[in-house]
């Protein structure tokens, strides 16, 4: 075992982690720990762009952007955070340009902008050109540019290190915090993939930037490595997860494969059609049609299929039609995604429409933070020294449905803020004493799994989890389907206690790490399903067929999912901090999942009916 000491430790080297590192590393001693080489992170898969009201090509302003974000999130957005994001978007884009990001340009040499779903002029009048982009590989260019700047600034990386435990001076999952007591982070425990060695990192500040959890679903645009690690680490320490029931299904995944085709395809003029050739979005969103927000488009597509107007031999997908666009225009603006259609489906988008179906894409929920990136342990109290940014976090700027491009914006704006906050805190704080034998939990878990001679296969349990999530907790949900999913997850948790791996070595043991990741996925899936069961309304990305309307009277609140010991009444004030009106409890093996709530922050906009 090795021990390290840094002022700030950042976990994850995607866009949010590296943006935080650029702020923090110039101020205090900083380490970035990443389970992948930084350039492998899934920020690189983002395609369409990053919105900012630069008004380079037409009239625009950040207030319109704020409104679109709030309305897009079906009013579950914290409006103070959305305002910060839309305002700081402009500098975030200019920062990236100055770092060297090769944006596409207007004839005058300014950053070019294009249309994107849900982004409108003057509060919904018409689609606006707000997305700054680099062809259809904007995320790739952001990831490369941030890594380049990290190389320039000699940021210290620990690559292919898996963080497997979060160290705090008070484990909220095992006991309540006394009134007036503060909770501090003290570091993380990591596993070095190449050698199997355990490393303990003591840190004054820890920034979690581990990304999403798309692998709880089978059909997903997410990388194999997006297993909700950071969310699960926090959750296991009793830190709540906010709004986990809101998962975004991106409308245009390649049918059957889930590989993402950017919304930019529709921003550039692409049209969705059903088997009858009808442009069906005209019926669902008469004003902005194919550029309606993702939840609406995904549901409309699923509905077309359900009503028998799906295309293909099994009538189970719809078509993305680009055939009316000039091939030269497609090549200039959408080269990568048209290449995906050719490579993976053998479809030529110049002449044939591309089969598409919604694919699990983005977790709106995550670790609750305030606008400085500080992690909350209930509605109001922060954990000292702990920060989160990007998809792992929930600020909440996305509410119940994220607008396209706002994720690249989120990682830049809140990555920067959390890195700055983490460094500022570390500059004045002292190290918190590590627990005795800090690596004990991780070592025991890894050794148990690694040396168990035979048992359940990781892949079998994972496949069963993904199957039930796709079948029961996807675009359409009901009490019955969600109950089925929860029962399945409970069964799978039992099977997981007997999980074993075939690779018994210590060198680069990915078999072992997949087993650990599966444990994270099970935890995350549980919070998604329990949150969805409790929310008996339909809002944004969460659609309950048995409760198809939005219910502001009861559910205009964030869900907070807490892991609490059995016997501790989490819903009461004495039980700690699972306050609020939901008070929904699900017992699991050895602990209970308690749902509390957190008020939505509203500043300028009162909830209205959401029409496009």
């Amino acid at each position: 075992m090795q021990t390290h000491q840094y002022d700030v430790v950042i976990v994850g080297a995607g866009g949010a982690g590296m943006r935080a590192a650029l702020e923090s590393s110039t101020r205090v001693r900083t380490a970035v720990i990443s389970k992948l080489y930084p350039t492998r992170s899934h920020t690189g898969a983002a395609q369409g762009g990053m919105c900012a009201a630069l008004a380079n090509v037409e009239e625009d302003n950040w207030e319109w952007h704020t409104f679109d974000t709030v309305k897009g999130g079906d009013y579950l957005v914290d409006q103070d955070a959305a305002e910060v994001m839309a305002k700081e978007a402009i500098d975030a884009v200019l920062d990236l340009e100055k770092m060297g990001l090769p944006f596409n340009r207007t004839p005058e040499g300014r950053i070019d902008q294009r249309r994107f779903g849900g982004h409108t002029r003057n509060h919904g009048e018409a689609a606006v050109r707000r997305s700054c982009y680099a062809a259809d590989r904007t995320g790739h260019m952001i990831l490369q540019t941030l890594y380049q700047q990290c190389v320039k600034n000699e940021v210290e990386f620990f690559n292919e290190f898996y963080v497997l435990d979060l160290l705090v001076d008070h484990d909220l999952a095992t006991s309540a915090v006394a009134e007036g007591e503060e909770v501090h982070v003290s570091g993380v425990v990591a596993y070095e993939l190449a050698t199997g060695e355990i490393h303990v990192f003591q840190a004054k500040s820890v920034v979690l930037a581990t990304g999403g959890a798309g692998k709880i679903y089978k059909t997903t645009s997410n990388a194999h490595t997006l297993t909700g690690d950071g969310m699960a680490l926090a959750y296991r320490r009793g830190i709540p997860l906010e709004d986990m029931e809101f998962f975004q299904f991106h409308p245009t995944g390649l049918a059957g494969l889930g590989i993402l085709l950017s919304e930019a395809a529709r921003g550039e003029g692409g049209i969705l059609r059903n088997s009858e050739g009808e442009r069906f979005m005209e019926r669902y969103a008469p004003t902005i049609k194919d550029l309606a927000p993702r939840d609406i488009v995904a549901r409309s597509m699923a509905n077309e299929v359900r009503e028998g107007r799906g295309a293909g031999p099994n009538k189970d997908y719809v078509l993305l039609d680009l055939t009316h666009l000039e091939p030269a225009h497609i090549d200039a603006k959408l080269p990568d995604i048209t290449e995906f259609a050719r490579t993976y489906l053998g479809i030529e988008p110049y002449t044939e429409p591309v089969p598409v179906y919604p694919t699990a894409h983005y977790a709106m929920g995550g670790i609750p933070t305030n606008i400085e990136g500080e992690v909350l342990r209930n509605s109001t109290d922060v954990i000292k020294g702990l920060y989160a940014a990007g998809e792992v976090a929930c600020v909440s700027v996305h509410g119940s449905n994220r607008l396209g491009t706002n994720s690249l914006l989120d990682i830049n704006v809140f990555g920067k803020r959390s890195g700055r906050s983490a460094a500022a805190y570390a500059a004045t704080a002292s190290f918190v004493e590590l627990p005795e034998d800090p690596a004990a939990v991780v070592t025991a878990e890894l050794e148990t799994i690694r040396t168990r001679p035979n048992g359940e296969r990781v892949a079998d349990i994972r496949r069963a989890l993904q199957d039930t999530m796709d079948a029961n907790a996807q675009v359409f949900r009901t009490e019955e389907s969600l109950r089925t999913a929860l029962d399945d997850i409970r069964q799978l948790r039992k099977r997981y206690t007997a999980v074993s791996v075939q690779d018994k070595s210590r060198t680069f043991n990915t078999d072992l790490l997949e087993a650990v990741e599966l444990g994270f996925l099970l935890d995350i899936a549980e919070t998604v399903v329990v949150g969805a069961l409790n929310r008996k309304e339909s809002r944004g990305g969460h659609f309950r067929e048995d409760f198809p309307d939005r219910d502001d009277a009861q559910y205009m609140q964030h869900t907070m999912a807490y892991r609490r010991p059995v016997g501790l009444d989490g819903a009461s004030a004495e039980g700690g901090d699972a306050e609020g009106t939901f008070a929904h409890t699900e017992p699991f093996d050895g602990y209970q999942l308690v749902l509390g709530s957190k008020p939505v922050i509203m500043t300028r906009y009162q909830p209205m009916e959401r029409k496009y």
């Binding site: 992948l36 080489y37 350039t39 492998r40 899934h42 690189g44 898969a45 200019l94 340009e97 060297g100 090769p102 596409n104 040499g109 300014r110 950053i111 680099a134 062809a135 590989r137 790739h140 490369q144 380049q148 190389v151 059909t219 990388a223 194999h224 059957g256 494969l257 590989i259 993402l260 299929v305 359900r306 293909g312 189970d316 997908y317 995906f340 993976y344 489906l345 053998g346 001679p453 296969r457 990781v458 892949a459 796709d470 079948a471 029961n472 996807q474 675009v475 359409f476 019955e480 089925t484 075939q502 690779d503 018994k504 070595s505 210590r506 060198t507 680069f508 043991n509 990915t510 078999d511």
Partner: protein
Amino acid sequence: MTATAEAPAPEVGAVPSFEVTLKIRRFLPADEDMPTFGEPFQAEPRWDEFTVTVHGTDRVLDALHKIKWEHDGSLTFRRSCAHGICGSDAMRINGRNRLACKTLLKDLDPSKPIIVEPIKGLPVVKDLVVDMEPFFASYREIMPFLITTGTEPTKERLQSPQQRERFDDTTKCILCAACTSSCPVFWTDGQYFGPAAIVNAHRFIFDSRDEGGTQRLEILNDKEGVWRCRTTFNCTEACPRGIEVTKAIQEVKRAMITRAF
């Protein structure tokens, strides 16, 4: 369960299921700690064959996953995004460097075993995993970041669409190392910067906003720099992003002579 909840079947452009055999280069370094459960331990590289049933849209990565998940969990390889953008899974497939996630099995001849090996020229860590550090070290040496002098503008730096187009091709690089590890010069001389580092130098040398071109050309004028390139075009052929790598190297060579960029 709801009517539309099932994911659509991948019948699009499908060929029916078929069997493939993969012949995979294996290597596990000595590990004293490993419980062997009575089986003797071999530290020698070896070939293993696996036969699996796959679908028409499956890629080499799907077959590797099937083997790992259903047959031999110890088979080790890197992967992440699974659609050719993260650059994790470059490997040598039937003698050619490719990304496993971008190589469709139906496009390979399924009547013969598909040979899968780690990329060449970098030390093998385990099975298909190589040590990428030397590769990234070369990348870092060419100063892969925008270099500017003077005061920063308040808004964006201007760049015409034509100026932007000049270096578009080399911005596509995902640092997968398929090019560098396909280069015969790199195989025999690991000190050579290699195509990927030069591609990334090109990306900045020809960026109208950058002012570090001269410094980068100095670095690449080294005996391990661009002049080692023998224009075999292996790199261009290997690039999964379709970058004209050899052309980019030639442009850097020309810039070195003419100092025009």
